[in-house]
């Protein structure tokens, strides 16, 4: 069980659970739909990493913003992109959150404070500084969160973005989802320091870490980080150690990592974990959890139906939106 700085309410705990479940089930169904040929393109999914998206975004207001990566489904749902508009986007439908133009790697919606996800590794790490800069210049009290992988911390963009945010003391939380691998490459092959958080001191930036398989721990650490950023005390780097239960993208046989390692991490699955925590902490019952499950399934089926029935974009849409 997590050691938390503050008490967690029933609402928060059940909210985190529902969010993680929604992401997990979304990803599972999407994968099947992809294999069945209903969803085109490719997929980078986040089963196993749900606690990070859920734990961080639960601390954000709708007016706060996030940037995301090639693996954005969980971030999108957690920040408030509806299952309908996320799913429809994967279907390439005009009702999708990017009207079919973005696709899986670019999920996002300004209406809920999420840029189209940036599929260039590290790409969000510089763009997010502009979000933070505008919040600071306009004194809006908003916060920006930049999700990125440990692999992205080797990009020049990580360096320039973090240093710029530090120097300008911008209200940004850089959230590293360290899932140990960038595609087939384990972090220890591409970094001599074991933690991305070890890099923050190079910029005079505070870093914290959280167990990325524990939604309550992430929630807690993110709350502290976001509060700090919002209060004007500059950016912070929050590293969450996590694991993707699936391949890097569809069709990755994961031959580069051991079954033993996978089993070890599967045992840390954040969803059963929070279920146990909720019951143990007396924040909810098995019945509450069953109810959550049903409501997620309903939402998911509705989203699939909606997506199937939604119209495709018009061919003429292709040349819209190039320029404003």
């Amino acid at each position: 069980m997590s050691v938390l700085a503050a008490e967690v309410s029933r609402e928060v705990a059940l909210g985190l659970h529902r969010q993680m479940l929604a992401i997990r089930r979304f990803e599972e169904r999407v994968y099947t739909l992809y294999l069945e040929g209903e969803i085109p393109g490719t997929l980078h999914q986040c089963q196993g990493q749900e606690a990070v998206a859920a734990g961080v975004c639960a601390n954000l207001a709708k007016t706060d913003w996030i940037t995301s990566t090639h693996r954005p489904h969980g971030h999108a749902l957690a920040k408030g992109v509806s299952m309908r508009s996320a799913m429809a986007e994967l279907y390439g439908k005009v009702t999708g959150c990017c009207r079919g133009k973005g696709g899986s790697m670019h999920l996002g919606d300004p209406a809920v404070g999420m840029l189209p996800a940036i599929a260039i590794v590290g790409g969000g790490n510089t763009v997010v500084t502009g979000l933070g800069l505008s919040f600071k210049l306009r004194k809006t009290g908003q916060v920006a969160v930049c999700f990125f992988g440990e692999g992205a911390s080797n990009e020049g963009a990580f360096h320039e973005g973090l240093n710029f945010a530090a120097v300008k003391q911008l209200p940004i939380v850089f959230v590293c989802e360290n899932n140990l691998y960038g595609a087939s490459t384990s972090f220890d092959q591409v970094s001599l320091v074991p933690n991305v958080a070890d890099r923050a001191s190079a910029y005079g930036v505070e870093a914290s870490t959280a167990d990325g398989m524990d939604a309550l721990a992430v929630y807690d650490a993110a709350r502290v980080a976001i509060d700090k950023a919002r209060s004007g005390r500059g950016p912070i780097l929050l590293e969450c150690k996590t694991y993707r239960f699936i391949g890097h993208s569809r069709g990755d046989a994961r031959g580069y990592r051991s079954k033993a390692e996978e089993a070890e991490w599967l045992a840390k699955d954040p969803i059963p974990r929070i279920e146990r925590d909720i019951v143990r902490m007396g924040l909810g019952t098995e019945a509450d959890i069953d109810e959550l499950r049903r409501s997620v399934e309903d939402e998911l089926e509705d989203a699939i139906l909606f997506s199937r029935e939604s119209p495709l974009p018009q061919v003429s849409d292709a040349m819209e939106d190039v320029y404003a």
Partner: protein
């Protein structure tokens, strides 16, 4: 077009840009500047002095000095633009744009489209071009690369009047606009650097804008249409004056905006003269002159009396030694020879 009244107020491009930027900053609090060495007290006011005096009026909160981090500059400008601000970002030399191509090409140009039209990215990026005896990494004219990026607008300013009008339009435009300025034309160094040219022109003190996407005819002529920008425009004008004595009558167009291109003005001229030449300091192969030539070869082919010619920097990096630099970039003599040649074909 600039009036030539006796009461005219002549200023340089550097001054015109400064004035245009200052007016926009006064008008709209969402406009800010961001770049290296732009606002440091006792500093340079930007690599070519364009921002001198602005920090005093607007404060360093709106004139944001950055680390030497072009990716962060472009990324910050883009991010702020997406949030509704109107940044003017600064590259000290356009050669450094290659350090932030991801932010420009993969992010800024595509963010609106990827969002399904829900976002816009009203950012300006200013970038000085041109060879000035500084060698291969400080003398490029990379505007053609950006002409190939859907989602970006490309402006080349050649005189103070249009510089002011266009920088103001660029700030108000809802898209990423790259404004390329030629180092030899800023006018801060006076006539000498530009080979005796007067680099000032009449610029109204009052508010005006000049539309992005509109070309101007700088010289009327019957025999040959020349499209030229920046310093090549002036060399073409001088060559045309010299050749007028020989009865060659050139029409010279300053496109001012390369994307979107004012094809109407150019085609009208080409249909009249039947001949087309494009002159630029960017290198030849794959330069923007190729695009104009290709468009003309599609849309005006039946009006053409002969080959379309391009005069451009030779396909080489910019060499440092002045004699070599002069050899690679289009000189007045090379332009004049090409005109003669073309009139004989």
């Amino acid at each position: 077009m600039p009036s030539v009244a006796p009461t005219e107020r002549k200023i340089s491009i550097a001054e015109a840009l400064r004035e245009g930027i200052a007016e926009e900053m006064r008008r709209d609090p969402s406009v800010f500047l961001i770049g290296e060495d732009i606002g440091v007290p006792g500093g340079f006011g930007g690599a070519f002095g364009v921002y001198l005096g602005l920090p005093e009026e607007f404060g360093r909160e709106r004139i944001i000095d950055t680390p030497i981090s072009e990716k962060a500059i472009a990324g910050a400008a883009l991010g702020a633009a997406l949030m509704g601000m109107r940044p003017i970002a600064d590259m000290q030399y356009s050669d450094f744009l290659f350090e932030c191509m991801d932010e420009m090409v993969n992010q800024a140009a595509k963010m609106r489209y990827m969002s399904g039209g829900k976002l816009k990215a009203p950012m300006v990026m200013r970038a000085p071009v041109g060879a000035t005896q500084r060698g291969a990494q400080h003398g490029q004219c990379p505007e053609s690369y950006f002409c190939h990026v859907p989602g970006i607008k490309v402006v080349c300013v050649s005189d103070a009047y249009h510089a002011k009008g266009l920088i103001k339009s660029a700030v108000r435009d809802d898209n990423p606009v790259l404004v390329f300025e030629h180092k030899m034309l800023y006018g801060s160094k006076g006539r000498q650097m530009a080979g005796g040219m007067d680099l000032t022109c009449h610029v109204p003190a009052e508010e005006y804008t000049f539309p992005i996407g509109k070309a101007v005819v700088k010289r009327q002529g019957a025999d040959l249409t020349i499209v030229a920008t920046h310093i090549c425009l002036y060399r073409a004008l001088a060559a045309a004056e010299a050749l007028a004595a020989d009865g060659i009558d050139c029409e010279i167009i300053d496109p001012l905006t390369l994307v979107p291109l004012d094809t109407e003005t150019i085609w009208t001229s080409v249909r009249k003269t039947g001949r087309l030449m494009i002159v630029h300091e960017d290198t030849l192969t794959g330069g923007w002159g190729a695009e104009i030539a290709a468009l003309a070869a599609e849309h005006c082919i039946y009006s053409l009396k002969g080959p379309i010619k391009r005069v451009a920097a030779m396909d080489a990096p910019v060499p440092c030694s002045p004699i070599l630099e002069e050899a690679v970039i289009p000189s007045q003599a090379r332009i004049a020879a090409a005109i003669r040649d073309q009139m004989n074909q």
